[in-house]
Assembly symmetry: C2
Homo-oligomer: 337 residues x 2
């Protein structure tokens, strides 16, 4: 547990002043070639690396982009991968920070994280599914799947309405008429848009929207359990469910199995996101794919542009229906023909 060498240690060992070491390291001019080389040699010997913290405090810039998330769930992780690879050949490093791991409260993690890291540690931030948008942030921000429409700061999202409509139309096309919806988190814009797409598809097909078939899913498995159970215990239970994301769709399938219902035999289920687990299950989940990796890349592009003075942009990407094994024709008798 040795103390890491500081710039002072280097200066002492090299027999020069701290300032000279700093200049040598950062290739500032005003240092003789001899001294420069000498200092670098000592730096290498001691294994010195400048402290990100101290540097960031003194300088404005750190060349680090922060990816701020509430927690490390599949959606955020895959996005992170996209951000990271988009940053490959830039001078920027990536730093991911989960804001609610210790501080259990789900509200305002965005502001807290931004305030703790921003202005000092990171030059810009990518906020993943923020439910509030800090107004006067100290660094440029891009929100991915934000809580609000394109009136706020820069954002990247998919066409949620279209995606949800495609999902619902797919179920309708299979013959389903009693199609339920497990809502997303009501503090996120995407949840409302997906519900809107669901409603639109039903209405266009002339199927009345039954409020009893729309229950809370909350985008998380734990928060969807109750709603999933309730749907199955309805006297006239749905034959298909459009869940607002994959985590809740998978939970829906699990709960259905608990009730002795198999998917897609007794219940068709469609999700949204296409997280890695979606394709892995049995049956594999029919879902609406968000191009998460590309979205991470898009967020990086927008952010880098803002960092060099560009205007905030709002990007919408296409969502694509991926038909797999969790949806089937209804009624089943038709499948046999």
């Amino acid at each position: 547990m040795n103390r890491r060498p500081t710039i002072t240690d280097v200066a002492r060992a090299a027999g020069v002043s701290v300032a000279t070491v700093s200049k040598a390291i950062n290739d500032r001019d005003g240092v003789s070639a001899t001294t420069h080389a000498h200092v670098l040699r000592v730096v290498a010997e001691l294994g010195y690396e400048s402290s990100l913290v101290a540097t960031s405090m003194r300088r404005g810039r750190t060349n680090v982009i922060g990816v701020l998330v509430a927690e490390f769930e599949p959606f955020a992780l895959q996005l992170l991968q996209g951000v990271s690879s988009a940053l490959q050949d830039t001078p920027y490093d990536v730093l991911a920070y989960a804001g609610t791991v210790s501080a259990g409260d789900h509200l305002g993690w965005e502001r807290r994280s931004l305030s703790r890291l921003g202005g000092t540690l990171i030059d810009g931030a990518i906020l993943v599914t923020p439910s509030t948008m800090p107004q006067n942030a100290s660094v440029p921000i891009v929100a991915v799947d934000p809580h609000t429409g394109p009136d706020g700061p820069a954002s990247v999202a998919v066409h949620n309405v279209d995606g949800a409509r495609a999902a619902t139309e797919h179920l309708i096309g299979l013959g389903h008429r009693r199609i339920a919806h497990l809502r997303g988190r009501s503090d996120l814009e995407s949840a409302h848009q997906r519900e809107a797409g669901y409603r639109a598809a039903l209405e266009e097909a002339g199927i009345p929207v039954d409020p009893a078939l729309i229950l809370e899913g909350g985008y998380r498995a734990a928060s969807a359990t109750v709603g999933a159970r309730a749907l199955l215990e309805l006297t006239d239970r749905p034959t298909a469910v459009f869940a607002a994301n994959d985590l809740t769709a998978l939970e829906m399938i699990r709960v259905a199995a608990e009730h002795g219902l198999s998917t897609p035999r007794d219940l068709s289920v469609v999700g949204f996101d296409d997280i890695p687990d979606a394709a892995a299950g049995a049956p594999a989940l029919t879902t609406v794919r968000q191009p998460l990796t590309d979205m991470g890349g898009a967020a990086v592009r927008v952010l880098l542009s803002m960092l060099s003075g560009g205007e905030p942009e709002h990007i919408r990407m296409r969502a694509e229906l991926i038909v797999r094994g969790s949806t089937a024709v209804f009624p089943r008798s038709l499948a046999d023909s």
Copy 2:
């Protein structure tokens, strides 16, 4: 792009000194109840949060655990998820940092990251697949899948030899005799252990090890392409391949398809890790599962124990063979009977 409020702003707004604000925030005594309440009100009004950077610089502790990775690839991401959820009800936050995003060199990212973050920003570090082990680090360290055996610092890993043996025995049991191996990164202990398991299984079955069938895979898709091609262009080409991890196994399947060979019909492939993509492909990959989430949890336990003065530990977890669709009986004629 407003400047974030600093402790000085709070002090001025509250009409007290900076020191008093600090005491009030950190619940130090020596502040009257009235002042305390007043300061906290102003803090809330201004939306002030102490800067992680400044705090970390002054204090020793930050209550942040760092997960240091070379890059955000599936293995690291899933581990991160485990770390994050294991830290849920502790006072610690998680900070993930990719060391080689900007600085392209693959060597020594561990020391660089540690030195930049350690001692200041993070209280302890979890190093993911480090290929060197910094000796005199400034904070406690746990290595996951380290480059060296249990002689180094604390570590968490799976029984690589057993896992590799099980994978190879599975292929042998299916009737394969010409079984190739796509090696892992030679700077990682796990790569050598997996190769050893592969060799052991062959020898136990009385199958001579053919050096021509052991090629470099390097744990990454890009680095496996050449080796995969070479294997298929052998005059007496293998009927099965044990790849040292899933990324290279999937690449093996892709390259085989390019050569007009379908898996598992013409070539059986086994991977290692069970990353999310393994189960998603067509065919789904037969692989050896590393309990990545649990391993993240184990790393957290060891690290927290070390942070409260405990001794470094070395943990080995079981690897489990998961048979899916990328392996089949050989020769094919047997499958028909």
